[in-house]
Point group: C2
Chain length 208, copies 2
Amino acid sequence: MLTKTKLLFLLAGVLIALAASRQALYPQTATAQTQSSGPAYTSAGDFKLPENYRQWVYLTTGFDMSYNTAMSMGHHMFDNVFVDPASYKAFVETGTWPDKTTLVLEARGAEGKGSINQKGNFQSEVMAIEVHVKDEARFPGKWAFFGVDDGKTGKMFPVGAECYKCHAAHAAVDTTFVQFYPTLLPIAKSKGTLSAAYQQESAASAKK
Amino acid sequence: MLTKTKLLFLLAGVLIALAASRQALYPQTATAQTQSSGPAYTSAGDFKLPENYRQWVYLTTGFDMSYNTAMSMGHHMFDNVFVDPASYKAFVETGTWPDKTTLVLEARGAEGKGSINQKGNFQSEVMAIEVHVKDEARFPGKWAFFGVDDGKTGKMFPVGAECYKCHAAHAAVDTTFVQFYPTLLPIAKSKGTLSAAYQQESAASAKK
């Protein structure tokens, strides 16, 4: 007979197992866990770079692009872009970024000849990391940029910095350069989320 | 008092909850779920490209590298490399690849001027996809290469093809070019899994 006591024990078992399974399963889903908690900051307001950002969703890589601020030092550079998995999923569904979106731009040096490679370039050390975070309640302009110099935490760029103006004026979707993310641009087009400024620029450049 | 019956109900609760939580949690971990099933083939033996390979773990991007076979057409090219998440995790732990490892090389065209970019290159359409699969029971040499022309399935390159010889002779770890994967090379070094051929090449080139 299913007495009240037996039911209580059944319930206790369910709760114990749920708690245990969360601990047991989450290590397999480190990316999902990290992104669902959203961006984190130090008490001084610096951004804490998630250790596993390279296991987030990859968006693209540029080579010697002029918008890379670490570019003027006379050597070739790559920049790889990653986004937290939950925000990627939301973009695929909606064509734009949800609150708490975190984009990491990782600049790496470019090596030339090396091993069997005789031309072109492959990637070497990290030279700079910049982060673009959407945190609507925290930042007056909804988004903020951070420069992560030590690979761990990053200071926020002041709101008057050039990066804010350039992203606001030219970015294809919600201050982000989706025009350079080849898998996301078609989604933004089909969802109708391209910025007016970007659409005008595109139309003007198509007429040339 | 904790009777045998109560213990049984406790156990039943644990089992019910575990079963339920597996169903509830796994949809969040689509990449882990997909890769754990390993490589899949058509009845004709062609490789089936997983739809979500771009959500696997990103390894690196090359620019105009000479080992890219699609390179000789007079325009710039990127190649992005992804690996299934379970094999990435195994590599981080062991410094080498487990059975069922699947590496996807995605070659993309490189655009120059476009939007606000005035120099350097950003990525455009997929130009070619090549896959390197470790399937020990299936391939005499343990690994095989496939060319995916239609974005869905790929024919295996014949065992005598140049790619097999070059990878066997020069690759840093288990026929894979870990020397070009900046986050994995230090792991292979510390785990002592670098191939003898690669170590000799490195030593010879360091003496020059």
